[in-house]
Symmetry: C2
Subunit: 123 residues, 2 copies
DNA sequence: TTGATAATTCTATAATCATGGAAATATAGA
DNA sequence: TCTATATTTCCATGATTATAGAATTATCAA
């Protein structure tokens, strides 16, 4: 994961309403929830929620699909997994040896074209 | 970790200069770097760096210690570990069963007064 | 088509955040 | 003490972000 994208995702999560939306969606994964249901559950005005959903969407943290008049939003677990990977890849000092080796994942990794980029300096 | 604190830490990291500072400090853990060294390496004006260091410090991501005329800043790995714990605790759906069980850590966990609070609903 | 509902976009406003020069504070050495 | 260096704080400015009412677009059902 690139620096830039990590910042985008961090910024998307670093806001009370958006974090609440994301966590709510995680509770309702993988189907997700309609925007109206999210707005009602969190007590957010439509326009405000729409703004935040766009941010989350732009960061790749949520996906949406239309079903009739409703648009369902669902969390993209892979994005969170990437973020956690980025953070753990950069949160500890190699020289200090404080990294535990266990690798934590949120979801099975999809094979992408850029496979093998991350954590490349492991030896 | 509380919602509020997670947001504080996420916001602290969600900024280009601050993320760069944090990553630089991680490379130099555990001694850390003097503010002047950070400013030089990243090409940041003193006042700007000081502003960002305060943010990181306030979020609990870095600590500082004075040594002569220098103030050394070092990363607080436990804070990052807490954040990663928070994210993995909330990034996946229990019902969807997409959580891997492996627990990733950045540093050995310090025993604190609130031991056992996190991940309490595991059964 | 009409009416109702779902969601987004438009828009203005307010609030927060980032930047960096200049002044202030703190420490060390002569 | 005086001077140099390290760092922070003060302050003004500009940029970005959050909020939410109103208007708009889209879908469905009859």
């Amino acid at each position: 994961m690139q620096n830039r994208q990590a910042i985008t995702i961090l910024a998307a999560l670093a806001q009370e309403s958006r974090l609440a939306v994301y966590r709510l969606l995680v509770e309702h994964a993988p189907e997700g929830l309609a925007a109206s249901a999210i707005a009602e559950k969190l007590g957010l005005p439509n326009a405000t929620l729409s703004f935040h959903l766009k941010e989350l969407s732009h960061a790749g943290l949520v996906s949406s699909r239309q079903s009739g008049r409703f648009i369902y939003y669902a969390p993209v677990i892979e994005a969170m997994d990437e973020l956690v990977g980025y953070l753990t890849d950069h949160c500890c000092s190699q020289s200090a040896g404080t990294c535990a080796t266990a690798k934590r994942k949120c979801a099975p990794k999809k094979r992408v074209a850029t496979a093998g980029k991350r954590r490349s300096g492991s030896t």
